[in-house]
């Protein structure tokens, strides 16, 4: 049954018991994305730690990712998996993962994703066979990208100004 190839056990687990769900403080950036085809949405927050000194660049660490969302099993599971994978990594690593994930999602089920790079996110390869569901899997990742870009700007500004993390970015 093709259904099992799409809804892998990992996906259903994360869907039933999502990790890191619920918006948390502190955060440096926040993004709200809507899937226009179904109206589902995600709000996602990112908090970064500079890798050393004041300079904020790709080497910064993703200190926290939290989110609130409404949507289908795929979008919920994807957000949950994302937080597991990205918290604690560098921004550069996260962006590479995002690229690999995006590429996999556009492979029409043909990709043989590298588990060393994507880890648990390889579970979504089956989703890429269903064009209507690709956006579901990508929704949180796109929000993460936006929130991270924002975070980097806001942290840099803070560093330059020596100020505090703002209560709410964006």
């Amino acid at each position: 049954m093709r259904l099992d190839a799409m809804y892998q056990e990992i996906i259903l687990d994360h869907y039933r018991n999502p990790h890191n769900k619920g918006l948390r403080e502190p955060h440096d950036g926040e993004a709200h994305h809507v899937n226009p085809t179904c109206g589902d949405e995600v709000t996602l927050r990112v908090s970064l730690t500079p890798s050393g000194g004041d300079v904020i660049d790709g080497s910064a660490t993703v200190r926290d990712v939290s989110y609130d969302s409404m949507g289908c099993s795929i979008s919920q599971a994807s957000a949950s998996v994302l937080t597991d994978l990205l918290i604690g990594r560098s921004v550069d690593e996260g962006m590479r993962m995002l690229d690999a994930f995006t590429e996999m999602m556009h492979s029409k089920g043909e990709a043989e994703p590298d588990e060393d790079v994507l880890e648990d996110a390889v579970a979504f390869v089956g989703v890429s066979k269903y064009p209507a569901r690709i956006k579901c899997a990508l929704l949180a990742w796109m929000a993460w990208k936006d929130a991270t870009v924002q975070s980097m700007q806001s942290v840099s500004n803070d560093s330059r100004e020596g100020g505090d993390v703002p209560e709410s970015a964006s």
Binding site: L3, C72, I74
Partner: protein, 433 residues
């Protein structure tokens, strides 16, 4: 599975005319097509008629003096006559458009064009202080064009609410329809709820105040006998592709005296009286509203679809769908954790079933159904305000047509149960069966 009396239509036999219905999907599952509300499948007879036109009579209609052009024109105008009589109208009352959407936009734009179109067309003028009335259950095609008309002209948009049961709320009709109302645009049958609206009641009130009544019949003309002389509407819009016909053709029916008093929408060739470099006059309806080389092959295909439906008998189509609807309401009603939007009884409703399954996203329901070969639609079905009113983002929708069977309904009920099992949403049992 249930043993049932044979109905007025032998759907199993009729399915032979529809090549696509014998195909399989997703690892050799037989296709169960429950998405005719989005678009219908087309019988061989329709495809043959269209192809025959291309292979034997193709030429630009109304534009040539040679034999092919004559034949093409003849086929095109005969098609118009067939389609007109299918809805109880006359040829000169039928305007071909590309779909129902264009037909509705045609009237909405004609109304704003009337502002600059001269005295002849003043009947259609609209402006600040005037009101346009729609309903909360409209398809975007019969809502957004009116929003835009109001924006272009400064008129005010108002709307009927929908009751919890999915019926039009007529309790404030006396307020909503008044001397400021210029046009009332409403669905004959809802594409989400299946609800059939009390058109004559609304039309009677609207006509008391001289308002126009436009009926979005995209979901009624395919499914029940429709007679324009009985509905009380001034305009009627529908699409060919939802009634066994080709894509790319729709119809605007209008009262002839209104069409004659209406300025054009799309302008260009074939819709003119005379043309000077800086001004033009218009042909009589229906040509006035058919600019450019028309979709003659599609008109021929749609006429073949009307012939097909007439041969089956529209009363039989209606009765067949009624019987299936009763059965579907019974089967779906027996499922735990399934909430149907729209009337729970078969009275004044068609075979369209939009539902939510507790704790399972409509898209996930659709995915499980798809995996079993069932084609349904998920989302807001181009009726976002209606979904908001029921406080859901999306629903799963199954819609029936003449080629559907009791077995298809069984497959739907079993498919939903399977989705519940798969996502562990509710215990796998049907209540009360």
């Amino acid at each position: 599975m249930t043993a049932r009396e044979p109905g007025p239509i032998d759907a199993d036999k009729l399915r032979d005319d529809f090549e696509i219905l014998s195909r399989t999907v997703r690892d050799d599952r037989p296709l169960v097509y429950l998405d005719s509300g989005a678009t219908s499948q087309k019988p061989r007879q329709v495809l043959d008629a269209e192809r025959d036109f291309y292979e034997r009579h193709n030429a630009a209609v109304h534009r040539g003096a040679h034999q092919l052009a004559e034949e093409a024109t003849d086929h095109y105008e005969s098609a118009r006559a067939t389609i007109a009589s299918f809805i109880g109208g006359r040829s000169d009352e039928v305007v071909f458009t590309k779909n129902a959407t264009e037909a509705i936009n045609l009237v909405a734009y004609a109304m704003s064009n009337a502002a600059t179109a001269g005295e002849t067309y003043s009947r259609f003028r609209i402006g600040p202080g005037d009101e346009v009335l729609v309903t909360e259950m409209e398809h975007h095609a019969n809502l957004v064009p009116w929003q835009e008309l109001c924006r272009r002209t400064g008129a005010t948009l108002r709307w009927f609410s929908v009751t919890e049961e999915g019926r039009l709320d007529l309790s404030n009709m006396d307020d909503l329809v008044n001397e400021r109302t210029k046009i009332v645009a409403l669905a004959h049958q809802s594409n989400v709820l299946g609800t059939v609206n009390p058109v004559r009641t609304v039309a009677a009130r609207a006509h008391e105040f001289g308002a126009l009544v436009l009926l979005d019949a995209a979901q009624s003309v395919p499914h029940v006998p429709v007679d324009v002389t009985e509905l009380g509407a001034d305009f009627l819009a529908f699409s060919g592709h939802k009634m066994l016909g080709p894509n790319g053709i729709g119809v605007l029916w209008g009262r002839p005296e209104l069409l004659a008093a209406m300025p054009p929408f799309i302008t260009g060739g074939s819709m003119i009286g005379t043309v000077y470099i800086d001004r033009a006059t218009w042909a009589d309806p229906p040509q006035r509203f058919e600019a450019g080389v028309p979709m003659a092959p599609q008109a021929v295909g749609l006429a073949a679809a009307c012939d097909y439906l007439s041969a089956v008998g529209m009363a039989n189509v209606r009765d067949h769908e009624r019987a299936l609807t009763e059965y579907a309401l019974e089967r779906l009603g027996a499922l735990d954790g399934v909430r149907l939007l729209g009337p729970a009884d078969g009275e004044a409703r068609g075979g369209t079933f939009s539902f939510v399954v507790d704790d399972i996203h409509p898209h996930d329901v659709g995915q499980v159904l798809d995996d079993q070969g069932l084609a349904v639609r998920v989302g807001h079905h181009c009726a976002w305000p209606l979904h908001r009113r029921f406080e859901v983002v999306a629903t799963t929708r199954a819609s029936l047509y003449l080629y559907n069977t009791y077995a298809d309904v069984d497959a739907l009920a079993e498919g939903i149960t399977e989705a519940q099992r798969f996502f562990g949403a509710v215990p796998v049992r049907e209540k009360g069966r």
